[in-house]
């Protein structure tokens, strides 16, 4: 228990201590500092009894909260504001852990497998759209950052899109033993028959 809490505190401390170098470029601001803060919130999710009530059935309320939190901090003007105004910066350090990371983890834990699949697909496509936007926008989207850095952020989004897609596709191509036996059990459960092992490998 204390290990997760220590990690979460450590991550927030890193995001705060290395504020200047991280925020010097939009690439590290958006794709390193913000995820670090969200991860800190996600780490403390198992302690929270917050999302266990019936109101959070299927994780929907928490997932929607995280979705709006992400949308808000995806706005270029929110990023500009965090750099220009210390109150916005404080809001960022509170919102990313507690309104993005924490609800995302709580909601995802209760989400139906189909909901999770939609979230994954949505994540990859959103990252790809952001990659296109930041590499092709004809003007600077943040007043605080140079056009060349904006382009680098776009390439960073593209890398994240590929990484997320690869991470989620990999188990389908290279299943672990555990996943294979889990799926076999699933097939038996659905069909009520025990198939030939060669056929099953094709199914997997």
């Amino acid at each position: 228990m204390s290990a997760r809490l220590a990690w979460a505190t450590g991550l927030i401390a890193i995001a705060a201590l290395f504020r200047s170098p991280l925020e010097a470029s939009p690439l590290t601001h958006v794709l390193v500092q913000l995820p670090i803060l969200a991860l800190a919130g996600a780490l403390i999710a198992p302690y929270s009894r917050l999302g266990q009530g019936d109101w959070n059935r299927g994780g929907w309320a928490c997932l929607l909260t995280a979705g709006f939190g992400i949308a808000f901090w995806m706005l270029p003007r929110s990023i500009d504001a965090a750099l220009a105004d210390i109150r916005w910066e404080v809001a960022k350090f509170l919102a990313l852990p507690f309104l993005v990371g924490l609800p995302l983890a709580i909601g995802y834990a209760r989400a139906h497998p189909l909901t999770r699949a939609v979230i994954k697909a949505q994540t990859v496509s959103t990252l790809a759209v952001m990659a296109f936007l930041y590499t092709h926008a004809p003007m600077r989207l943040c007043n605080a950052y140079l056009a060349e850095d904006q382009y680098r952020l776009g390439i960073g989004f593209l890398a994240f899109a590929f990484a997320a897609a690869a991470a989620w596709i990999a188990p389908l191509l290279f299943p672990t033993r555990q996943q294979v036996s889990g799926r076999r059990a699933g097939i038996r459960g659905i069909t009520g028959t025990v198939g030939d092992s060669k056929e099953e490998r094709l199914c997997v």
Partner: protein, 200 residues
């Protein structure tokens, strides 16, 4: 609470937050937000003392019966400011030939007052054909610079090549000192119309 009610509450709160944060989904960037604010709120611009290319000292924006067009520059700028200087010259010529001749002044305001001395400003002005009256080059006092840039909503950042990058635009100020429009440097048509509105 039933799950549907909880989710709807989140959607309502989140939607209201995003609506608020984007001026009704109208502006996603700081630049579009400040341009929209100039049109809808026409904020009063505080007057700052400036020194012009002719050594004259005045308050900017001046309170008289003319509209003022302010652009931001630094005279060492090798690229975009030179283009901007040419655009200001075109705007001056266009205004002189239009219905608002003699009713607007143009100011190229330096955000690099340490390097942009009066001699430097005069050289830049003569190079671009600024006469020091209808169109002048000016610099604020270094102490006023952060407040001045804040009042206009201008962000200046180093470009890693010894120069600066900033959100360059034409700022149209009414005779009573209100920021009434912010336009692209090359939007001369829009600038003339905005000057007409500012003079009304």
């Amino acid at each position: 609470m039933p799950p549907l009610v909880a989710s709807l509450a989140v959607v309502l709160a989140g939607g209201a937050l995003l609506w608020q944060a984007t001026d009704g989904f109208a502006s996603l960037t700081t630049e579009s937000a400040r341009r929209l604010a100039a049109l809808t709120e026409t904020p009063a611009v505080p007057a700052f003392p400036v020194e012009t290319m002719t050594g004259e000292r005045l308050l900017l924006p001046p309170r008289d019966r003319k509209a003022t067009v302010v652009e931001f520059i630094y005279t060492n700028c090798p690229t975009i400011c030179q283009v901007a200087g040419a655009e200001m010259a075109r705007l001056r010529d266009r205004l002189a030939a239009g219905p608002f001749a003699g009713r607007a002044r143009l100011v190229s305001l330096s955000f690099d007052p340490a390097r942009d001395t009066q001699a430097q400003m005069a050289e830049y002005g003569h190079w671009h054909g600024a006469d020091g009256k209808v169109w002048t080059v000016a610099r604020p006092e270094a102490n006023d610079l952060p407040a001045l840039l804040g009042a206009y909503g201008v962000t200046v950042i180093p470009d890693r090549a010894g120069g600066f990058v900033h959100n360059a635009a034409l700022h149209i100020i009414s005779p009573d000192g209100r920021l009434t429009a912010i336009l692209d440097m090359d939007d001369l048509d829009g600038a003339e119309k905005a000057i007409g509105r500012a003079l009304r």
